[in-house]
Point group: D2
Chain length 341, copies 4
């Protein structure tokens, strides 16, 4: 069986695991106050070109989003997000559980548009009853999006500009950031992300760590008391150095980028093979997630030898499926898949 279900179905990249092994018997202080974590933070600060950024490692994505958003918003504010956004759909109400409304925007293959953000904010303050409504307090986007699409640098700068014009922070969910950086046609770097965003996170779980997300605060007027906030959200790992060790491995010798490039390369091979076989590409994704509309009998046939995600019927005879690659996807796996088509 070959696996394309998701980028979190296998364990950790061997180089990450190796470092966990090498350091396993060492004793360090807990809660991320150790030297491995300090080293990983320094590597990330260097990578993003922002020596003053606060970096904090958390365990998972929902946790990171909930903690950051809860810490940024005032009580009467909500967070803007695409109606397809992870926080709007797939976090079991974690944002609302900490007291905040998700104010949804239309999405275009997962992306929001600066003009829609502008429109929502302008309309909000034009409505005389606005003090009775939830104020737009920040913007959440993800890079890449739920559908594997990627904001161009110009688009990022546009949403950033509209946020800052209206004095609300921009937060970028980078659960799969490495795949956006390696995307076909990507025209931005982590330094750009750090420049346009006020707060963002660089995901580890889906890029090759066992777990872990690096929350980065470049606008230091925000999230001033991150440590107790993280603890309060149950997101503080006792053996915090495990996060430091893993992220240090990821940002040593460009591993993080190499993983992204490898996965995207394999994903594009898959996309082109489906295209070449005449199947419909549902979304033109330049990253490691690919969405196809296939005849149900093709799906049934493929399933005997490949594992992938079913996303629902589309018409009576066809369905949407998702194929995802990661560090653990080998070129041979993709060869086999292509052969099957």
């Amino acid at each position: 069986m070959i696996y394309f279900n998701s980028d979190y179905t296998a364990g950790a990249h061997p180089k990450v695991l190796e470092r966990l092994l090498e350091t396993n018997l060492e004793h360090t202080v807990g809660y991320g106050l150790d030297q491995y974590t300090a080293h990983a933070k320094a590597l990330i600060r260097q990578e993003i070109g922002c020596a003053e950024a606060e970096v904090m490692f958390l365990v998972g994505g929902t946790q990171t989003n909930a903690t950051a958003i809860d810490g940024i918003l005032a009580r009467h504010e909500g967070v803007l997000a695409a109606e397809s956004g992870h926080i709007a759909v797939h976090e079991s109400g974690a944002i609302e559980a900490s007291g905040h409304k998700v104010l949804t925007l239309p999405h275009y293959d997962g992306k929001v548009r600066a003009e829609d953000v502008e429109h929502l904010i302008t309309e909000f303050y034009a409505d005389e009853t606005y003090p009775h409504m939830v104020a737009p307090g920040m913007l959440y986007i993800s890079q890449p999006t739920e559908y594997g699409t990627v904001y161009t640098l110009k688009e990022l700068e546009a949403v950033s500009a509209v946020c800052h014009k209206h004095n609300i922070p921009l937060y970028i969910d980078g659960a799969r950031m490495g795949y956006a950086l390696a995307a076909e046609g990507a025209d931005f770097t982590l330094r750009d992300i750090a420049r346009v965003a006020d707060v963002f996170y660089i995901g580890g779980t889906k890029l090759g760590t066992l777990f872990g997300e690096a929350l980065v605060v470049t606008n230091r007027s925000l999230l001033k008391n991150l440590f107790p906030l993280v603890k309060q959200h149950g997101a503080l790992l006792a053996k915090g150095r495990l996060l430091g060790v893993q992220f240090a491995a990821m940002f040593t010798d460009g591993l993080y980028y190499a993983i992204g490039r490898h996965a995207v390369e394999q994903a594009l091979r898959i996309r082109e093979a489906f295209r070449a076989n005449g199947y419909e590409i549902v979304i033109e994704s330049p990253t490691n997630q690919q969405f196809f509309r296939l005849p149900n009998e093709v799906i049934d046939r493929l399933r005997h030898e490949a594992s992938f995600d079913y996303w629902g019927a589309r018409g009576e005879t066809h369905s949407i499926v998702r194929f995802v690659t990661s560090w653990s996807t080998t070129a041979e796996d993709v060869d086999i898949l292509i052969e099957l088509l």
Copy 2:
């Protein structure tokens, strides 16, 4: 340097790590729906003698407490706990953040007494203004306590009885449960814990996993929708099988118990060595945490070769220190410490 600061300063027990390595390249579904997690759940159900128990693996202790307590309590209820309890002191307000008051009880070396629970509940309902006050909705205890002390089976049965008499659930925080099971004089088993408690957790982090806590619900009328609740609390691990793999290792060939016994054995050697040297034992702890009152110059001297926790001054010339053992504490480490005294 020899380390006695805590039981979470090193990585994972080699056998646990070995299993993570062996399974690293396998692909499984996420979020704990895999076969490793199913196997670990089955092992725990067998261990506690309760085939119907719900078992759910979470990442950390604060998270587990916050999730379970939030799920058990009605909105108008609070949780009873010793004033020294972890949830009352050291969780950055995680319980209050989900909307609930911690109603504190006096503690006796970390333990609460059944009669104090009875008294608090009786007094509460005797006060005519009680509907204006936070109702006692459950009891939280930890086994062992923050001070390393252990409830006897009789004491557990007493607090359980008073809870059930008043129709409130008993929740046991077992972050260090394995050390209580191995405690000097321990007269209870995991089956007893499962019998007296409605909900409890078996801690992995402090016993030798990289991370992870096994939440067990024996009273199935409680926490009926655990999965979305765990997700909402940001406590659902994407690569959930990592928890299953680790807990399966812990409950195979009695590893969990062996680790507890080893650590307690070394802790008692330390305690007796301090006693033999005439130092004051602050709390008669039968588990892996030991508290001594030492002259400051002794502390300064020991610090050159041993690492341990400072708990504050006690008088002008003495201070309290804590020594903790774990799976990673070797008999040789303890030999060296004893030599130093």
Copy 3:
């Protein structure tokens, strides 16, 4: 100046105020435990034909909605509501502040359709990822709606049936219930409301009390600890008897119904006068709120002698306005308005 801005711009109906005056110097216990409150509860129970219903008086509508919804929902659940619903738009995030998502449904002049409720719930459970999403935990509707429209008995029975089929409670916001009961063509009574809903409230503020809403729980398995929940939500009035006195006045000699009938009668006179003058009726409202699309110069002209609400531009030359009647609207006021057209 004649006033049609809203139904809460004047004080209380003279008969209500009279009773407050008559009882002003009496001493009673606080918090609604007095005999006036008991009497008002009895009157309401009789009116709805449900001797076992729990009745609790709160001060305002947002408060009542937030308290009831918070008490009904489990932590992982959200409340379904029309996207135009008061809780979805105009309560400053009060529902989210208590931890719950508002799951929106399309609306048809403010009403939701049973088939849309059915669809949302069915789609939810058909989605394999549903445990990662907010579960539909109850349905909120208002009778009449934000747009003055009214559910027919058949429509109420349909939404009730779909709720109960899926085992979620139906909650009806009756801030303006009296106007729905008196609506042109209304085919339901308070007994029907009590029968189809699990929980609902009968609004006082907009019908002629100084303030106050009567929350009614007919499904007694819900909201079992209402008193402390109300207190916790800051919704418990110290001089609780003021609520009892006012609601007793409202449900004595049919005052509540008479007020509704009077206001609706005047509202329909206004509607027909606008229609007769060739103006566009935006929504065919059978209750005390009327919405017209008027040329801007007409609006400007009317404003010199009448006060009403502006709801926004509709095209370059026209705008939407709202005219509302209440107990304080006299037939003479309406005569003057009609004269002005």
Copy 4:
């Protein structure tokens, strides 16, 4: 029967009610945006000598405390209060429901001491584990206290100084402020309160309005978005002018002060009569609440003709009772009571 149970057992002071009557048929905008409310705010600003203060009227005390505290605290902070404080005991967990811990201080007849505040804060930051604990984010005191006692100006200045030294705001609950201002030996004015506090409220409910509390923010860096916060807490009254009308009446011709003086005068007559008859004064209260320890047979005898609150047994033969006066207590009522002794 003569009544001494509490200061909220009767309706409103006749002059307050008169103004409600006089204005009943007027039409004004809702939500406190009317001219009566503006006038009342101006009167209060003048009274406290602070033209820039924000004033906002809410309905009740628990609501006001919960709203203000929720708006002031950061997520990781808690509120310091006497262990006897209203927010710590009698608000059904309203503070915790909005996510914050109440950190309790010892009390001395209801008052906290500046040195205890200093000590708690100093100890907190001296504890290395403090980032795992709830940070002291503000101080709550009430003037007068739950026990009717009053802080002297010197004591107020001392708690204010320690708060500002540590950069946390001081919030004063003035549910019964008028009785403290009129207290025997009172050496402070509302201007002093406004000077020492960052935020406080002047209670109406217990001083003679039907309901209503005036929240005053003198430190304008706090509570910047009060309107939506009040709405979110369900504390925004639709017919907001009712609050304005009542508070304007209270601060016209010194009514607020006169009510306080009258009630305190009668309370001290009661206290001295009990003292003269040899009964034990439990707390030397200089305000309108008086606490006595009486033989049970005396209590039983008095109860035939007077109504007062029972606060619990004290020994086998005696109990504590509370007598409270208000604007509605007449000198004749007190004459009758004194006669009964």
